[in-house]
């Protein structure tokens, strides 16, 4: 563990800009409008990133386009123009104005400019350029700023068996399918979801989210700080676990949740029944293939993704999906776990261990790679063929997912088993 350097080759790292992360949180609020107070280049990048999961976001994502003069004399003129246009053409429930890094430095009073523009909705103003950090820092800053400007109701009544999902975002790969599956298995286990801020909930749902019995942190690198804040300010308990991957992983996740809210074990009967059916179905299909193609077995495995995804997936690989030799995990956001995990042989900080990441990728011949297209490209550039490559994180340039096929939950376990086996069989025939 540990970073070799604060520098390293960024071509071996995966992140975006805080501008994108902050915009991702607000893009996940229906009809919220976003203004990037910065150059078009940074704006276009964030827009392109978000357009993939959220194709219509372009209609509510604006850019002030400051020029050199604005950097000297302030951005009021260009920003006011955009705000007037928004005021004329829409009535958003909330507006985010996010400063890019250079604009953040010049110290404009953005809130003052927004106040003078007399916007018909609450306005959240933050600095969210690269100086703030990457995607995760931007998302967290935006979520926290939202809660400051639009605080939820005080927690007076608590509805039993209700939960919120924190740290979800449309900015993760296959997120919409995963969130849908999470909600489905939670409903199957008898829970009602009140809010999922940053991933589909409107401002009313976020305002009343304090009625929930428990906050579930789905992606810790995004949602833990919000959960801690809500605990501190509103007395809301939270549960933070790696997301549920695999059949066992999903059942364990639901059991841990049940213990936290003192749910009767019988509430899991429906989920267990479905899990049992799926396991039988998968076992039959896989055994048939095993007789022909042998075991799903890899000399090495590398899992690279945002930390919650990578740690959760690594556990499912080791305990459910395949036989593997040494398993290395690369955490894109560099958020290392507090204690060693016995199912992982090596953990690398994706933000600072780029040299070690490249070494691990080079040594992965014939192995299993669960990662993004960035790691796949490095492998291909080094002409190091692996057996199975499965995209689990952005960026993704070589795959289309149109059907409702999650990675998380029971259906996700089925889907991943299917993908790994089919790719393995394909590899055997190459």
């Amino acid at each position: 563990m540990g970073g070799e350097s604060q520098w390293g080759n960024v071509c071996a790292q995966v992140d975006t800009c805080a501008l994108t992360g902050a915009a991702a949180f607000f893009a996940g609020i229906p009809d919220a409008v976003i203004v990037a107070n910065g150059p078009l280049w940074c704006y276009f990048y964030a827009l392109r990133y978000l357009e993939k999961p959220c194709p219509k976001v372009g209609a509510r994502f604006y850019c002030s386009q400051p020029d050199n003069n604005a950097v000297v004399y302030g951005t009021e003129e260009c920003l006011s123009g955009i705000l007037q246009s928004i005021r004329r053409n829409s009535r958003p429930p909330v507006l985010l104005i996010e400063n890019s890094c250079a604009i953040g430095l010049i110290g404009d009073d953005i809130a003052g400019i927004a106040g003078r523009a007399d916007m018909p909705c609450p306005v959240v103003c933050i600095d969210s350029g690269g100086l703030t950090g990457g995607f995760w820092e931007g998302y967290r800053a935006a979520a926290r700023a939202y809660l400051d400007v639009m605080p939820p109701q005080r927690r007076s009544e608590v509805q039993p068996r209700t939960v919120n999902l924190l740290g979800c975002t449309i900015g993760y790969y296959n997120a919409a399918n995963d969130i849908r599956e999470l909600k489905r298995i939670l409903a199957l286990a008898g829970y009602q979801i009140l809010a999922c801020p940053g991933a589909g909930s409107g401002i009313e749902e976020i305002t009343t989210m304090t009625r929930a019995e428990l906050n579930i942190v789905v992606h810790e690198e995004l949602g833990l700080e919000i959960a801690q804040y809500l605990q501190q300010e509103y007395g809301m308990p939270y549960l933070s676990l790696p997301p549920p991957y695999g059949i066992e992983g999903s059942l364990d996740w639901l059991k841990a949740l049940g213990q936290m809210v003192r749910m009767d074990d019988r509430s899991l009967q429906a989920v267990q029944r479905e899990a049992g059916d799926l396991e039988r179905q998968m076992r039959t299909a896989v055994l048939e293939m095993q007789q022909i193609w042998g075991e799903l077995c890899f000399p090495r495995t590398l899992v690279a993704a945002p930390s919650s995804v990578a740690l959760g997936m690594a556990r499912a690989v080791r305990s459910e999906w395949a036989d593997t030799g040494p398993l290395t995990v690369v955490l894109h956001d560099g958020r290392l776990p507090h204690q060693p995990l016995d199912y992982i042989d090596m953990i690398l900080d994706g933000q600072s261990d780029s040299q070690a990441v490249e070494r691990q990728l080079t040594g992965l011949a014939g192995g299993l790679l669960l990662a993004s297209c960035n790691e796949k490209a490095i492998l291909r550039q080094q002409a190091a063929p692996v057996a199975v490559c499965q995209n689990i994180a952005l960026p993704v340039c070589d795959e289309v997912i149109l059907s409702d096929r999650p990675f998380m939950g029971l259906r996700g376990a089925c889907h991943m088993t299917e993908r790994l086996w089919n790719q393995y069989i394909d590899f055997c025939q190459r």
Partner: protein, 432 residues
């Protein structure tokens, strides 16, 4: 109603950043390392842009395994550097790069943040070069502030020329291609090489990108430089680089952008013949290229001729010269029912485009709102921006104009394929 998928964006000024231009200029130069003096996020944006290019090259079978990829290291400016300056951070970063990568040279690109802070990057680069005894160059642009992508690209080329080139005797019939256009393996450069062959010329260098130090040093020995632009902005910077090289080493250059369209190709051939004093080769080249074009026109015309076409333009003249599109449509025999200027253009950009259109066509020109009726009845839409009406069959025009007859033929083939599609299917075909 005509709706561009990005209705809220009007490009008022620049839309790119100089730093990716610096990176692209030396990304495949053996021994180069690029440092961004910027927040880390800027490096990630470039990396992702490069990733798209990488997968496009894989898709087109142009990918070269183990091709050198210059490490991109970011100094990592943070909030505290805005108060105390980032020069020391950059010094340490250079030290790391020298120790870790042992580069042949380092190029530093400045971010807008470094520009606002006011770090003297040139001085840091000079001192580092003295300390580490390797060339460390900086580029006088600061992110988006004073120059865009091509400015970064140009200044990097100029820095390499200043540092590594010295006068050499000219090697007969050798050419240096100035610019990128997808690199030596890409179809654009292949097309150019095909045209150069008519004159007995051989491209022995590609500059500033895809060049080893040895190749960079060979540039002054070129008999000729040929700029590869593709649009007004790109050409102006590549022309400036060519002009610099002429001034520094006496290497003449063809003062003409890439051959675009058939008329453009003929002019390019004529200019080249005139420059070299080889007019007979021009006739042969014209004859063969025209034949190549005619063959495709015959095939495509039958498929496209009856189509009613609307042209939608949302790029300003600086980024899109439409003349080759009119030529293409004329060859295919379509009826151009109208031209719609999309809302993304400012009033000034719209006026300039209208004036340009008057020189090329008699087709009626509409603003976005007025164009709904003509779009409604169109069979095919040729457009610079994706339209939200995905029931319409759309040909998305390439950002860089296609090179030579080969480029024109490719777009024509795509238009023919689009015309053959059942109308109800709609959809977009990308013209590159």
């Amino acid at each position: 109603m005509v709706i561009s998928k990005r209705p809220v964006v009007t490009i008022k000024g620049g839309c790119s950043c100089s730093m990716p231009g610096v990176w692209r200029a030396v990304a495949h130069n053996e021994g180069a390392v690029v440092i961004y003096h910027s927040p880390k996020a800027c490096g990630h944006v470039t990396r992702e842009m490069n990733l798209g290019g990488y997968y496009r090259s894989v898709a087109r079978r142009e990918f070269v395994p183990r091709q050198y990829m210059a490490p991109l290291v970011v100094s990592g400016l943070k909030e505290e550097h805005s108060i105390f300056g980032g020069a020391e951070q950059l010094r340490q970063c250079i030290g790391y790069v020298v120790t870790r990568y042992k580069p042949a040279y380092i190029v530093i690109a400045n971010s807008c943040v470094a520009g606002v802070i006011g770090d003297d990057v040139q001085a840091v680069a000079y001192e580092a070069g003295q300390e580490w005894k390797i060339p460390v160059m900086s580029v006088p642009c600061s992110g988006f502030l004073d120059g865009e992508y091509y400015a970064g690209f140009y200044h990097t080329g100029r820095a390499l020329a200043d540092r590594f080139m010295f006068p050499r005797p000219a090697m007969e019939n050798t050419v240096t291609l100035l610019g990128d256009r997808g690199g030596p393996g890409g179809p654009d450069v292949q097309e150019m090489k095909g045209l150069l062959q008519y004159f007995g010329l051989k491209a022995h260098c590609h500059f500033p990108g895809y060049a080893s130090l040895e190749e960079i040093q060979r540039v002054p020995a070129s008999a000729l430089c040929v700029p590869l632009g593709g649009r007004a902005e790109a050409f102006s910077w590549m022309r400036r680089l060519a002009s610099d090289l002429e001034e520094m080493f006496g290497v003449p250059f063809l003062d003409h952008d890439c051959p675009v369209g058939w008329q453009g190709t003929k002019t390019w051939l004529k200019n080249m013949g005139k420059l070299l004093g080889r007019k007979s080769q021009v006739l042969l080249a014209e004859k063969e290229q025209e034949q190549r074009l005619r063959q495709q026109v015959v095939k495509s015309r039958a498929k496209i001729r009856a189509a009613r076409v609307v042209l939608c333009i949302g790029r300003p003249l600086l980024h899109f010269q439409p003349d080759w599109v009119f030529e293409l449509l004329a060859y295919t025999g379509v009826s151009l029912d109208g031209i719609i200027l999309l809302r993304g253009l400012t009033g000034q950009q719209r006026d300039a485009m209208r004036r340009e259109l008057q020189n090329n066509t008699e087709a009626p020109v509409f603003d976005q709102r007025e164009g709904a009726a003509v779009l409604e009845t169109a069979d095919l839409v040729v457009t610079t921006h994706e339209l939200a009406e995905d029931t319409k069959r759309q040909l998305f025009l390439p950002v860089l104009s296609p090179v030579g007859v080969g480029g024109l033929v490719l777009v024509m083939q795509k238009l023919a394929r689009l015309a053959e599609r059942p109308a109800r299917r709609g959809g977009i075909i990308y013209g590159w």
